[in-house]
Symmetry: C2
């Protein structure tokens, strides 16, 4: 070991991501590094594409993972689908919807904006009205808003998009692999996710999928895609049968992603989604029995990411520091308008487990006690255990 | 292990990258995954920045690694420095110079082009003439052209840039960490590299450095940077003291990069550069004693990437397949106009070793014999051994 080796602390990760990964995924990281055009490696990429189709519930030919974090996938979707002057409807009710807006504006699109309340889903009625009044090429929205813990119902918006011939660009960063994502059923034309949340891999890759309609649109663009690095036509030539070199794909990260996807296949996607839902309900039962409140109404809660209100008089940052220092437990802070107002508790992939729920409730109880807030930890643990049995 | 586990063959990597990595770097990959805002992780990013300054030979405050392959760093440099309408001089004498041109054109800059011969460096006289005739904001060029194996002399071009007040944007993808790169001495304003070549880490990160002058230029832009993902001002807010969340930085890749950089520090950058030069000379001595020819004239050869001419009548692809199938040895194919005409033999980082040189010469001798070409392997090995002793 190096004399200069920095400490690499071992954390229990229950924030918005990254989450803890399976020991098998750690082992996959040490698979020998291999060339990006090695025939053996191209099979790995093909298999990743196949497994991602299963997780996205799509038959889209162009399904793989862009080299970068989830935001690289967001930029790939936005920069390829949207050209200067395109009419785009962006739905914002959280930090990541707003990030989409920023990216869309950098394409110099004509943006119509629906601004919803943070902590609530977008009202489809607002989408209906906007589509009635304004021509729209793309509706961009977030399926699972990581900043608020809201799961966006998709059926009505999907129906409206179909009716008006608009494409859907969807953020599934915090849903894919743990919450039902139905790309083909909803008629989504471009979607992106990340490797480090419900998928259960380290960060550094962003699963993406593009419909044939989306790709036809890209091929008819009047302006070249502003990003060379994330030009989907160039990526397609590397991922597809022509195998034209584009970038040096990271075998390290892709081996890990493949192993994580194989774990999903073995568990079964439906079983995995049920596990995420059950564990989410147990966490909520525990949190509420301890006297804490959830931000989001029951009907719209995102199972993978739970936003718990910071009680009156409690210092949010002190609680998070205490959890990290005393127990090596990471939870997330609030973002944007929710800064200091909520904690974000992730239950995703390998981190979505009974042991983590019990650990979190106990640790949070201790952290709150440091600030004189007496949470009923016993009641919390009992409620969580009951819910886990259901 | 998974029933579905795909084979992960163990290759000796002597192509243009990725290269083989040190066992310590493999171990670093299994350091526990950690949050991108964890105080312990932010120290890792700081230390990476410090070590990259040492390798780039720069005091540039903004020095770290963008999340993606080397082309993400290329796009970060191009997209931030260049706005629509900017006069830019692009020097192209290989595949990667041409990639810069493509990216610059996507920024809708006014491009002046110097097209040099593939296999030779850019003639500074052409740069002088261009600067005399046309205003220029940025001169973009490649220090180490991975497609041709040419090392571009920088002194005269650096002097011209200073004289005309033009900024230099430099590709150091195949030089950084194995060949001398002098960012501050040359007055380079933006440079990028990759993690998987002379640095000795897996692919997935791109070291970048920006001068204060470059950053001042970015802050005065008339148009927003077209890439949100690679907007250097946003990256600066995350890497710098304000620690504003931008993307989920991959702790896995950054732990590995840190370990690789620490290995460079322990070896000593000057010693490492000498090792790359000595091994390059030994490979060339061996190749030439075997009757093969190098593409590039001695004065302009890139020590890290050796372009060997495919002899008349020899099928390039068959040789590469044979090396891969019989010996698990990867070397690179020619790119662009050099397709089928050269092999690209990388000697970088952990892969730059006496054992790899001897192995390559022997294996290449066997591969050529398959096609009836009798190379004098004994002479090649003797010549390489003599050169290694110097």
């Amino acid at each position: 070991m190096s004399a200069h080796q920095l400490e690499a602390p071992s954390r229990t990760l229950m924030g918005p991501g990254p989450l803890c990964i399976h020991p098998r995924v750690y082992r996959a990281l040490t698979s020998p590094v291999i060339g990006h055009l090695d025939p053996a490696y191209l099979k790995v990429l093909d298999r990743i594409g196949e497994l991602l189709k299963m997780v996205f519930r799509t038959a889209n030919r162009l399904t793989n993972a862009t080299p970068g974090s989830g935001s690289s996938g967001m930029e790939a979707c936005v920069a390829n689908l949207i050209e200067p002057g395109d009419p785009v409807l962006v739905c914002v009710s959280g930090y990541f919807g707003d990030r989409i807006r920023q990216m869309v504006e950098r394409q110099e699109a004509r943006v119509s904006l629906i601004e919803g309340e943070w902590g609530k889903p977008i009202d489809p009625e607002l989408v209906r009205r906007s589509l009635k009044n304004t021509r729209c090429k793309v509706i961009a929205l977030v399926h699972a808003e990581t900043s608020t813990g809201v799961l966006q119902p998709m059926e009505e918006i999907a129906r409206l998009a179909k009716e008006h011939g608009a494409m859907i660009l969807l953020d599934t960063v915090t849903s894919l692999g743990g919450v039902d994502v139905k790309i083909d059923e909803w008629g989504v034309d471009a979607a992106y996710s990340c490797s480090q949340k419900c998928i259960g891999s380290p960060s550094g890759l962003s699963p993406v999928t593009f419909s044939d309609r989306a790709l036809e649109g890209v091929s008819r663009r009047k302006h070249p895609v502003r990003s060379w690095y994330l030009d989907i036509s160039l990526l397609d030539k590397y991922w597809g049968p022509s195998r034209v070199y584009h970038h040096t794909s990271s075998s390290t990260l892709n081996y890990a992603l493949l192993e994580a996807l194989q774990i999903i296949e073995e568990e079964g996607l439906d079983t995995r989604i049920k596990r995420h839902t059950r564990n989410h309900k147990a966490l909520v039962a525990g949190v509420e029995a301890m006297g804490l409140e959830m931000l989001v109404a029951p009907a719209h809660r995102l199972p993978s990411l739970n936003t718990v209100k910071v009680p009156q008089g409690i210092d949010d940052a002190k609680v998070r520091s205490y959890l990290l220092d005393a127990f090596n437990l990471e939870i997330g802070a609030g973002l944007g308008v929710l800064k200091g107002k909520v904690w974000r508790v992730g239950l995703m992939g390998y981190s979505s487990s009974a042991e983590n729920i019990i650990f979190f409730l106990s640790a949070m109880g201790q952290a709150l006690a440091q600030q004189g807030y007496k949470a009923d930890i016993s009641a919390g643990l009992s409620a969580a255990m009951s819910a886990l049995k259901q």
